[in-house]
């Protein structure tokens, strides 16, 4: 149990920190007490962007060697974003381990390191929503739309945001 116990202790600590010291717009916690390796998160759409007002749900999945390996983040709601794969998986440098750089443009300092935390990941995702990086399109169609037809992109995004809060 040693490896798992290490991971669990760390996750438990992070969870406590999150509920005791809330960051605005970020909510995260394990889905059930049985399985601490899968968390559910809610990320508020950043203000002054088409995502404003939305509450985007996502699941965070941890590996057994967390924090050595990064977790994966997958949106469970509809979302159109250049850096989110069509299946909802988020493509962001903080979730990539150093050394694993398919596109060779990410700085090592922006990548995953054991000192990162759930809170920092979710904050990065929030800023990713505000400022998409259309050069590393995970969703090529969204990137294209973002670059060439911004109006349509924003309209769809606003609809997504509205849908997340049941409107």
């Amino acid at each position: 149990m040693a490896a798992k116990a290490r991971t669990l202790r760390r996750l438990l600590g992070e969870y406590r920190e999150l509920i005791n010291n809330e960051t605005e717009g970020i909510y995260a916690g394990p889905i059930s007490e049985e399985d601490w390796m899968v968390w559910e998160c809610l990320i508020a759409g950043p203000p002054d962007t088409p995502f404003e007002g939305g509450m985007f749900s996502a699941t965070l999945t941890f590996t057994d060697d967390y924090p050595l390996s990064p977790p994966t983040l997958k949106f469970t709601c509809d979302i159109l974003h250049p850096n989110v794969y069509p299946d909802g998986t988020v493509c962001i440098s903080i979730l990539h381990p150093p050394g694993d750089d398919p596109n060779m443009y990410e700085h090592a300092s922006e990548r995953w390191s054991p000192i990162q935390s759930v809170e920092k990941v979710l904050l990065s995702v929030m800023s990713m929503l505000a400022e998409p990086n259309d050069e590393s399109g995970a969703n090529v169609d969204a990137s294209k739309m973002f670059r060439e037809n911004r109006e349509r992109y924003e309209k769809i995004v606003r609809n997504c945001a509205r849908k997340t809060v049941g409107l």
């Binding site: 669990l8 406590r16 509809d78 979302i79 069509p86 050394g99 300092s109 054991p114 000192i115 609809n159």
Partner: protein, 453 residues
């Protein structure tokens, strides 16, 4: 799982929330717990000995600044160890002291005993208020909290909030002195709060720091300041601990004089070394599990080198493992990768144990290695970050699996095609023949037509 381990956020509900930053600074950023045998990297960042060794085995980079570093350049950070020892020794006391004043005052007129208590508390107020004046950086946060206090308790926020601020409680004290009615209000207040905790915070109450909350730190039980002996684990008065530890060690082996002092001073935390402890079952570390700290000469002599994967022969790895009494399968059964990983983990555990102020015996370490391996085996191996990951060997080992997967995928595509064909033949809808990319394009949003209405 034990929720009663110290957490920096415990301080948020005290009158000096700034201690949170202090405690965070005394925690390893990898495991987010108090340092265990802190060591500094050559770039100046401090981590637990074991944490940083594991990180460096994986990437050879400092987790904080990503500069390349090597295990051999790690140096013990004694200053941090000393600060941490003194901090953990008084942590419980401080926490109790800083939260206790939130309690409404017992009325002075009731009993002489209560009056005595009140005087004691007064003195702690004075102390707190002095600190508060100095604490300018955290005023903002506290101001925010006070605002929340005044708002009706609908946010399900902190159960401690309604009685937190120093100033309010002192004002309460003053009003009590001046009039009897205030006492009544205070009493009802006191009765009301516990209910609030139960109803509003059912999920937080388990993990919320509470006054008098049992701490995992075994040397600071709530009533007295007993310290567990690092050797036998028996609880002793702090004044007696050194002589007691001396006697304990003499019973087992003759140590160098400096070790006893180190022992006594650093009976402090070693979170990775002990099982999580709830206050109800105070640890009794088996006497055989620990040994006296290593001296510098011993450390130099016993330190294990990391070695190089390609340069080390498989037979050598087996030999080194067997020498340490670690289980190795007969030749050929385990791959070089597997036994190399075992040797690396052993080296990490061993070297980190050398840095520890409360080292474990070799047998205990071997056992730890085995339990962690047994668990790893039941899980999917993670190779993401392994710098030594041998791509080709892996490919060779798993060739059949890959081939099966490819065949499987081909079969599925074929099947889909057949189905699609039969579907288009059956009726003229083009749903099945629609390329899968189309569904990917709309990204699960639903069809674009719907969105644009």
């Amino acid at each position: 799982m034990d929720v009663n381990f110290p957490d920096p956020t415990d301080w948020l509900s005290t009158s000096v929330p700034g201690i949170q930053a202090l405690e965070t600074a005394l925690s390893c950023q990898v495991c987010k717990e108090f340092f265990t045998a802190p060591v500094a990297t050559s770039c100046g960042h401090t981590f637990c000995s074991l944490c940083i060794r594991r990180c460096l085995s994986a990437t050879q980079k400092c987790p904080t600044c990503m500069t390349t570093d090597d295990e051999s350049r790690l140096r013990k950070n004694t200053l941090v160890q000393d600060i941490l020892s003194s901090f953990t020794a008084i942590r419980k006391q401080m926490l109790d002291g800083l939260v206790i004043k939130e309690e409404p005052e017992p009325p002075i007129t009731k009993e002489p005993e209560a009056e005595k208590k009140r005087v004691e508390k007064r003195s702690s107020y004075d102390f707190d208020e002095e600190i508060e004046e100095e604490e300018t950086t955290n005023n903002k946060r506290r101001g925010k909290r006070r605002k929340q206090e005044e708002a009706p308790v609908s946010s399900g926020g902190s159960s401690d909030r309604p009685r937190r601020s120093t100033r309010t409680s002192s004002q309460r004290t003053n009003s009590k002195i001046s009039s009897q009615t205030a006492i009544v209000i205070d009493d009802s207040d006191e009765d009301f709060n516990p209910n609030e905790i139960n109803s509003d915070n059912e999920f937080e109450s388990g993990s919320r720091p509470k006054r008098g909350r049992p701490s995992r730190v075994p040397e600071t039980p709530p009533t007295t300041n007993l310290v567990p002996c690092p050797i036998c684990g028996r609880l002793k008065e702090p004044e007696q601990i050194q002589s007691h530890a001396n006697r304990c060690i003499e019973g087992k082996r003759s140590p160098s004089p400096s070790q006893n002092a180190a022992n006594a001073a650093s009976s402090s935390l070693s979170p990775l070394k002990r099982p999580p402890i709830s206050f109800s079952n105070i640890p009794k570390p088996a006497a055989t599990q620990f040994r006296a700290p290593y001296t510098e000469e011993e450390k130099q002599k016993l330190k294990l080198a990391k070695g190089n994967f390609t340069l080390t022969k498989e037979a050598d790895i087996r030999k080194r493992l067997r020498e340490n009494g670690i289980r190795v399968d007969v030749k050929g059964k385990e791959s070089k990768n597997a036994i190399w990983a075992r040797l690396q983990e052993w080296t990490n555990l061993w070297n980190a144990n050398l840095d520890s102020e409360m080292p474990k015996t070799k047998q205990a370490l071997v056992k730890e290695l085995e339990t962690s391996e047994r668990h790893q085996q039941s899980q999917k191996p993670s190779v993401v970050q392994d710098k030594e990951f041998a791509r080709e060997e892996w490919g060779k080992d798993h060739r059949t699996e890959y081939e099966n997967m490819i065949a499987d995928a081909k079969m599925r595509v074929l099947k889909k095609k057949n189905e699609a064909e039969s579907a288009t033949n059956g009726d003229k809808t083009d749903t099945a023949s629609e390329p899968p990319r189309m569904t990917a394009e709309v990204n699960g949003i639903g069809s674009p037509e719907i969105i644009e209405t």
